[in-house]
Structure formats: structure tokens, C-alpha cells
């Protein structure tokens, strides 16, 4: 399965992720950073100190002032992009599957980042290494483990094909602790940068502490909530016994068309609460039904919100 069409890839190549802050990564890249180094971008002068490279002396200034000054240039650094990908059981629902949609978004963002010489790391959760609560995560195949490992750090446009393949190899299963996964992801990162969270946010424990941890660590966070059409407007009516795919919990509901409005109101309230929460913390929020047109999200909404430009 190809995640993105060549046509879409070509269009994505024109974009560059917009970082609101200077890059803090230590690795070289194409991002402006506060660090001084070698680039064409002039940053400042400073007095010569013995031992400095003569190549950087500003001879023109020496001619006027008869003092030795060194020209400083901005060091261009990379922007670390961390994509938090919800790979819990609940993401396997929907037509098309929410997980497939999330992978497409992850691929697109990753591709844009790779094209911009930024470092991309995809963090699927639940994660085996952290021994997440669900036993299912332990049953990952070696192939998938390898893919997960490879996705931890990807750089360079030439890696994009491998990146897509590894994304494709991911599967979604088990129950995830959303907050724990985000908190760990925030702590693990040596350099903060851009964080993309792709999830349905249907975690009974909530999402607040995880997002707060990301923001607190200094990440510029973008959130894409992916919900299945079935979740937005159920098509099954009558006396139902609903089984939670992750917890296995039962919920008996008598549902009819006459209650559809009330249900949709509940869903909208849920989305609205998330939107308010994210907006207050400067997080970009996107709501995407899994049957949404991918191009609309990528080429219009993300661009409009200046995730990239």
C-alpha cells in the first residue's frame, strides 16, 4: 500500500515546516538557530581573540576602525519533528480505518520534514519497550519491531521511501495510555521541536496531562484528532450491548434515530472541549474524520494554520 500518491508527494515537496522558535537541535540542518556557526546568514560581530580563524575577520571594518572584529554567522540547525502516532486498538475502527488515515498524515508530515532536512521520529504508542499495560503490545513481530526502531530517527529525503515502508509495517493493537506515552515521549527527546499528535483521543484517562507535558517540555505541538464516521454518526440502532475494543468493558445502550441529535451533540461537546484545551495552550488543533479528503487537510487546513508553508 502506498500511503501517499506521487502527485501528493510532489505537491508536499513545496512545503516547509514552519517553526515558531529557533531550532535547538545540536545537529546541523537548514533551520535558523540561536547558535553561531557557519552559514551565509550574518548574525553579529565580536572582538578578535587570539586563536580565532582569520577567515572570519572583517577586513572592511578593520580598514575603517583599525580594530580586528570577527564576523559571526548563524548556525543552521535541524528541526526535530516528533510524530506521536496512536496505534491502539481503537484506531483500527472506521471506514477507512482511523489508523490508516493517521499513517497517511504521519507520512505526509514526515515527508515534508525529510525534504526540509529535519529529523523525523515517529513514536507509535502503545510501545513495547516501555512495557505498556496491555499484553498485546508484547506480541509484536520482529519485523514491526525493526520498523519501530528504524522510525525512531529518520533524516534526509532519500530516506523517505524507507520511512514510508516502515510506517506501513506498523500495526495497531492493544490499549494505550495516552498521557503516559506523551509524557515519556517528551522526556525522551533530547531536543525539543515540533510535535505532532495523531490520535482519536478516546482514552478514558483523558489527554490533558500528556499534552501539558509536551507543551511544558517546549514542544510546538500540533494535534490532529481522527474520528471514524461511525463514531460521529452511528448507523446501528436498537437495543445494543457495546463492547469496548481496548478495555473489553460493556455498555448497554438503547439507541434510536430520535437520539441521534443528542449523541452528535455529545460528540461535538467532546471535540469542543479538546479544541478549547489545545487553543489555550497554543496548540494547533485539527479535527479530521477518517473519511476526510486527505488533500483538504494537508494542503488547506495545515497550511492555513501555518503548520507549514
Amino acid at each position: 500500500m502506498s500511503l501517499l500518491t506521487p502527485e501528493l508527494l510532489r505537491r508536499l515537496e513545496q512545503f516547509q515546516l514552519l517553526a515558531a522558535r529557533r531550532a535547538k537541535s545540536s545537529a546541523k540542518g537548514e533551520r535558523r538557530s540561536r547558535a553561531r556557526g557557519q552559514s551565509v546568514e550574518f548574525a553579529d560581530h565580536r572582538s578578535y581573540v587570539p586563536g580565532d580563524d582569520f577567515r572570519y575577520l572583517d577586513w572592511n571594518l578593520f580598514g575603517r576602525l583599525d580594530k580586528l572584529f570577527l564576523k559571526l554567522y548563524e548556525e543552521e540547525r535541524e528541526l526535530p519533528v516528533r510524530i506521536f502516532l496512536d496505534a491502539s486498538e481503537s484506531m483500527t475502527f472506521g471506514e477507512p480505518r482511523k489508523f490508516d488515515f493517521a499513517r497517511q498524515v504521519a507520512a505526509a508530515i514526515g515527508y515534508v520534514a525529510l525534504c526540509g532536512f529535519d529529523r523525523v521520529s515517529v513514536v507509535p504508542f502503545p510501545n513495547t519497550e516501555h512495557g505498556t499495560q496491555s499484553g498485546q503490545a508484547g506480541a509484536l513481530t520482529s519485523e514491526e519491531l525493526a520498523a519501530r526502531g528504524a522510525l525512531r530517527s529518520v533524516r534526509g529525503k532519500k530516506s523517505s521511501m524507507q520511512f514510508f515502508q516502515n510506517l506501513n509495517a506498523l500495526t495497531a493493537a492493544g490499549g494505550a495510555d495516552f498521557n503516559e506515552a506523551l509524557r515519556r515521549g517528551a522526556l525522551e527527546a533530547r531536543h525539543t521541536g515540533l510535535a505532532i499528535v495523531l490520535s482519536d483521543f478516546l482514552d478514558p484517562a483523558g489527554y490533558e496531562s500528556g499534552l501539558t507535558a509536551l507543551v511544558g517540555r517546549g514542544f510546538q505541538v500540533n494535534v490532529v484528532q481522527i474520528l471514524a464516521p461511525e463514531e460521529l454518526a452511528p448507523t446501528t440502532f436498537g437495543d445494543l450491548r457495546l463492547v469496548d475494543s481496548e478495555s473489553g468493558g460493556l455498555q448497554e445502550v438503547t439507541f434510536g434515530r430520535y437520539r441521534m441529535k443528542a449523541y452528535q451533540q455529545t460528540v461535538q461537546n467532546f471535540i469542543q472541549r479538546l479544541r478549547e484545551f489545545t487553543t489555550k495552550r497554543g496548540i494547533n488543533f485539527f479535527m479530521a474524520p477518517s473519511n476526510m479528503d486527505l488533500q483538504d487537510l494537508l494542503l488547506k487546513q495545515l497550511r492555513k494554520s501555518e503548520v507549514w508553508g
Partner: protein, 611 residues
């Protein structure tokens, strides 16, 4: 504890239905969903977090409110109050006469009257009492005073109309006695008013409410039937039938006559409104049998469209005249048709072999046991206080008596006569100021005509009335004639048959083909059969004696089925048909039924919405 409507227990059958509804398990469809989080939130939102919420538009709510309202309304037992007064005793008289079978009301007048009466039963207050009387041939008390509606309904359902003429007076008298000392009582008469004469009933105080049934009087009826020897041809019988049209329009029908079931003649009739068409059929008759006259038109009352009569072949009358010589009397007797006259000087035996004996001023050696026509002959078993009067003046005579039919006593003078006080068995048919001159009556099985004077001592034999009287006497005293007239009774009247031998039981075959056994007392000298409410031909067998008799309506007052708006009682009392409706028509049953329908609808609605 009593139940006003015990039939309502039938609603208990709906309880298992409700239980079945609840036995039906709500089968939930198991469905795997990504997360129940949204559903939990949804349920939390929809369930009341606060004790009250804004009233939302919900059809179920309206239905339940409607249901409750209906139930409450039913429990209040609403009714329509109308103008009827509260009564502690209601006597219902249901007219069960033939005219109530008329079908101008649907299905019939009687059914209509019964339905109306049942409504009055429904409106009975718990403390009120009701009596049900059925005025058919006899007045039957179908239900004595009770408050039990079920019993009253049963009694009314058990009533059936008869083919007999209306006899309202006994019913009214019974009702009168029932309500006499009641302060608050009503007599409800359900009738068409087609009743003969109520002049003998006079009670202004009777609280009678007359409920009229019936709408029109489209009826052709046979009102009279007789079979006699044809005066023009002795070998034939003449059957006289009278057909009356009680409608105001001209009506047509075919009149059929049949003998023993085989059709003899059909005669088309067209009778103008309100007219009567007398018809005479002539038919030869080889044996005793039954003539049946039938109207084949379609009219409202079927009961009077058929009548039957038993016709016996004429037999000669054997008469013994015991006299010292009376040519005038002898001549008068011989002039009567079919009379075989024997003359004797004295009677030494009981006169067996003769149909009747004429004693002309002779005290016989042996008194006859048969019927007797006695002139100036005194038997102290018959009369008392016999005295002689000179030249009695005739002041009155009973012209309605069969003996004096067409026989008047104008210009009759009598030289002298014996008189006697009228005994209980006889009626006086000729009166002098002092005492009766002629007595006639039945003494036991003996029919006796006692004439106190010798015709030769009067100018009576010179008057035309004398031979007529003798002819009438031959008719009246001939036991065969007496029997003949007994063979035609009015429906509902008892049939009497004198027994010449002792029998233990008798069997009657009814017109509908069923048979009825009657137990007869061994010492009884007659059989009385009273179950003659249906008209038609009856066959009675008692020992070796076999008799056919007919019960017919033959009542013009009954056939005149025009419903009367007013009943006239006696000279001065009139009762107008009431328009008063029954009181307290309860509605709760209707309400409860609607409530039940709403409940079922609600259940259906609820289940329709969840799927």
C-alpha cells in the same frame, strides 16, 4: 361485595398479554466499538444530572398523560344526567303480543323494546329495584323486584314474543298492585300501543311511562276465519276469511287456501288503505280436516298472514222431543236442517243416543243426562225459588247471546210463566221485572236452556224470532257444534277438551313439530293445554281420543300495528308516548376502552422508535 359489571372480569384476559410482553426478553445486539467513552458521555448527558430537566416534546409523554387522564375520567364514572326522575321501583312491562313481532323496527319491535329496556337496566341506581313483566297471552313475572342488573338482564333476554293478542290489563293491574304503596315508583310500558280496549282499566294515579316502539303500519292481516256449510250447496263448505289492510296505502297480496296442506285456490287481492276485504272460498270436503288461509305478500307483521281452522263434516242432529203434543214446536224443530227428530210422551232412560232432549212441560220419569231444552219444566237441581207470574212484561233480553242471535222479543206477550232466581251456572237471557224467564248455561257437562213459559201460552210462536230461537238452540245444544267451536282458539288461550274416558297422560304435537307430554289426573274430566302461544295446528292425543285444533291470532286490534302515540285508559285517562331517555348513561366503559387502545398504541410507538 357485588359487581355492577361482572362481565368486565373478561378484561382480566389481557393480564397474561401484558406478562407476555414482559416475558419477551429485550434482545440486545452485541457490537464491538472502538471505545465506549463517547457512549458513556452520551448516556451521562442524556440522563438527568439534575433532578429536573426542561420538559421536552415527547409523544410517549403525551400518550401516557392521555392514558392517565382517561383512566382518571373512567374512575370518576361520568354519566349524562337527563330529565328522568330517580325512582326507587321501576316496573318494566314488555309487550309480548303478536304485533311486537312487526319488523318495521330493526330487527323487530320486540327486540327494540328489549334493547330500550336493557338501557333502563343499565341506568338503574344501585339502590333502585326493577321488576320485569312480560305481557303476552298471560302476564308473566320474569323477574321479581331486585337491584341485580345481571338478573334483570337475564330476565329480559329470556323474554320472547308470542302470537297472541295483547292482554295489557292484567299486567297493568299487577304493576298497579306492585307500585301501590311505593312513594317513588314508575311503570315503564314498552309497547307499540296496538292493544284492544283498555276501558276496563282506570287508574289516573298510575305513574305510567309509555315507551312507544314501531314506526308504521304496513300490514295486511287475516282478521276473521270461519268454515261453515255452504248455504247454497250442501255438499260444499264455505270458508269465510276477512283480510284487512291496516296501512294507509293500497296493498296487494295473494290469498291462498289449502286443505290439509294441498293448495286449493290462489286469489290475488288488492285492498285500498284502511279497507277490509271479506273473502268466501267454496270447497268440497270429503273428510274432516284443516283449512289454512295464507297471505303471500310481504308486510311488516308475519304473524297474521296465516290462519287455520278445523272443519268437521256436518252430522245430523238427533233430537228427542218429549211432549204431550206441540205441533208448533215440532214443526219448528223439523224445519232446522240436519235434525232427526223423534217424539215421545215420556222419558224413561237417560236419553242416550240423542244429541239433546226437548222437554215440553213434562216432568220425565228419568231426567236426561245430555243437553236439555226445557219448556216450563222444573227440576230443583237446576233452579230454586220457582214461582209463577201472570202476564210478565218482557223488559230486557241478551241479544249478544248465541241463543238470541237475530231473535228479538218485540211484541211478544206471555200469559203466564214460571220464574226462578238465576243460579250460578246460568245466565238470564230474557228478563221480566220480577225474575228471569229464560236461563241458559252449563251445569257440569250438561248444557241446559230453561224456558219458564209454554210457547203456546204466548204469541211467541207467531213471531219470526221463535223458529230462529229454535234453530239457535239446536246449534247451541248440539254437542258437536260446541266441540267445533272449541277447536279454534286464540293464540295464547288455553285449549280445553272434555274427556269421555279417564286417561293418564296426553301428548300434544305443536305447530313446530315438537311434542309435549301432559300428565292428566285420572279423575279429571277435561284436559287443559295452555302452551298455545304459537299459532298453527296442534294435534292432541289422549288415550284413544285424537283431536286437531287450531290456534290463530285473528284479532284486528292486534293486526292493526299502527303505533299509537297515546294510550287511552278507561274514560278519562290518557298516557302519551314518552320521549324521556334513560338516566345516568355511564361512560366509563367507553373511556376505559379508549385508554386500553392508547396504551397499546403507546407500546407499539415505543418499540417502533427504538428500531
Amino acid at each position: 361485595m357485588n359487581f355492577l359489571a361482572p362481565l368486565a372480569f373478561a378484561f382480566a384476559a389481557s393480564i397474561p398479554v401484558v406478562i407476555v410482553f414482559y416475558l419477551l426478553k429485550r434482545k440486545r445486539v452485541v457490537k464491538l466499538v472502538s471505545s465506549t467513552l463517547l457512549w458513556q458521555k452520551f448516556l451521562a448527558d442524556t440522563q438527568a444530572s439534575a433532578p429536573f430537566q426542561k420538559l421536552r416534546k415527547n409523544w410517549l409523554l403525551y400518550l401516557q398523560i392521555l392514558l392517565l387522564a382517561l383512566a382518571v375520567l373512567a374512575l370518576t364514572r361520568p354519566f349524562f344526567a337527563t330529565t328522568a326522575k330517580p325512582a326507587q321501583l321501576r316496573v318494566v312491562i314488555l309487550d309480548g303480543s303478536a304485533s311486537m313481532q312487526a319488523v318495521d323496527e330493526s330487527p323487530s319491535r320486540f327486540e327494540r323494546a328489549r334493547t330500550e329496556a336493557l338501557k333502563w337496566v343499565d341506568s338503574l341506581e344501585p339502590t333502585d329495584q326493577m321488576v320485569v313483566l312480560l305481557a303476552g297471552a298471560n302476564t308473566e313475572v320474569k323477574q321479581s323486584a331486585t337491584s341485580e342488573k345481571a338478573a334483570l338482564r337475564r330476565a329480559l333476554q329470556a323474554c320472547a314474543p308470542s302470537d297472541s293478542p295483547t292482554r295489557l290489563v292484567p299486567a297493568l293491574k299487577m304493576a298497579e298492585s306492585l307500585v301501590r304503596d311505593r312513594r317513588s315508583a314508575e311503570v315503564h310500558l314498552f309497547s307499540d300501543g296496538a292493544v284492544p280496549d283498555l276501558t276496563e282499566f282506570e287508574n289516573k294515579a298510575l305513574p305510567l311511562i309509555y315507551h312507544k316502539v314501531g314506526q308504521r303500519a304496513d300490514n295486511l292481516g287475516i282478521t276473521a276465519l270461519d268454515a261453515r256449510a255452504n248455504p247454497e250447496d250442501a255438499t260444499q263448505r264455505a270458508i269465510y276469511a276477512s283480510v284487512a289492510n291496516f296501512s294507509s296505502n293500497t296493498m296487494s297480496a295473494d290469498l291462498e287456501i289449502s286443505f290439509q296442506g294441498s293448495l286449493l285456490e290462489t286469489r290475488p287481492l288488492t285492498i285500498p288503505g284502511g279497507q277490509t276485504a271479506p273473502q268466501v272460498f267454496k270447497a268440497s270436503q270429503a273428510k274432516d280436516g284443516v283449512f289454512t288461509v295464507r297471505l303471500t305478500g310481504k308486510d311488516d307483521l308475519a304473524a297474521d298472514n296465516e290462519a287455520s281452522i278445523v272443519s268437521l263434516l256436518p252430522k245430523s242432529v238427533n233430537v228427542l222431543l218429549v211432549t204431550r203434543g206441540n205441533r208448533l214446536l215440532e214443526k219448528a224443530l223439523r224445519a232446522v236442517a240436519n235434525v232427526q227428530l223423534a217424539v215421545a210422551n215420556d222419558l224413561t232412560d237417560a236419553g242416550a243416543g240423542f244429541d239433546f232432549i226437548v222437554l215440553d212441560g213434562i216432568v220425565p220419569t228419568s231426567w236426561p243426562k245430555g243437553n236439555v231444552l226445557a219448556f216450563r219444566t222444573v227440576n230443583t237441581n237446576w233452579v230454586e225459588s220457582v214461582a209463577a207470574v201472570e202476564a210478565p212484561v218482557i223488559v230486557d233480553w241478551k241479544s249478544t247471546h248465541p241463543l238470541l242471535r237475530y231473535a228479538g222479543f218485540d211484541n211478544v206477550q206471555i200469559v203466564q210463566s214460571l220464574t226462578a232466581r238465576a243460579p250460578t251456572w246460568a245466565v238470564s237471557i230474557l228478563e221480566a221485572p220480577q225474575a228471569p224467564l229464560i236461563l241458559a248455561g252449563d251445569l257440569g257437562r250438561q248444557r241446559i236452556v230453561w224456558v219458564g213459559f209454554d210457547p203456546l201460552e204466548s204469541n211467541w210462536p207467531l213471531r219470526v224470532s221463535f223458529p230462529i230461537f229454535i234453530a239457535n238452540a239446536v246449534d247451541w245444544l248440539n254437542p258437536a257444534n260446541a266441540k267445533n267451536s272449541q277447536l279454534l282458539i286464540k293464540a295464547g288461550d288455553p285449549f280445553r277438551l272434555a274427556l269421555s274416558e279417564s286417561v293418564k297422560s296426553a301428548e300434544v304435537k305443536l305447530p313446530d313439530g315438537s311434542t309435549k307430554q301432559i300428565a292428566v289426573d285420572a279423575t279429571a274430566n277435561e284436559i287443559v293445554f295452555g302452551d298455545t302461544a304459537k299459532q298453527g295446528v296442534y294435534h292432541l292425543r289422549a288415550g284413544t281420543n285424537e283431536t286437531t285444533f287450531c290456534a290463530d291470532l285473528l284479532d284486528s286490534a292486534e293486526s292493526n300495528i299502527r303505533p299509537r302515540d297515546e294510550l287511552k285508559f278507561g274514560e278519562y285517562t290518557r298516557v302519551t308516548a314518552t320521549t324521556v331517555q334513560r338516566t345516568n348513561m355511564e361512560l366509563w366503559r367507553t373511556l376505559a376502552a379508549i385508554g386500553l387502545a392508547v396504551l397499546l398504541f403507546e407500546w407499539w410507538w415505543y418499540h417502533r422508535r427504538t428500531v
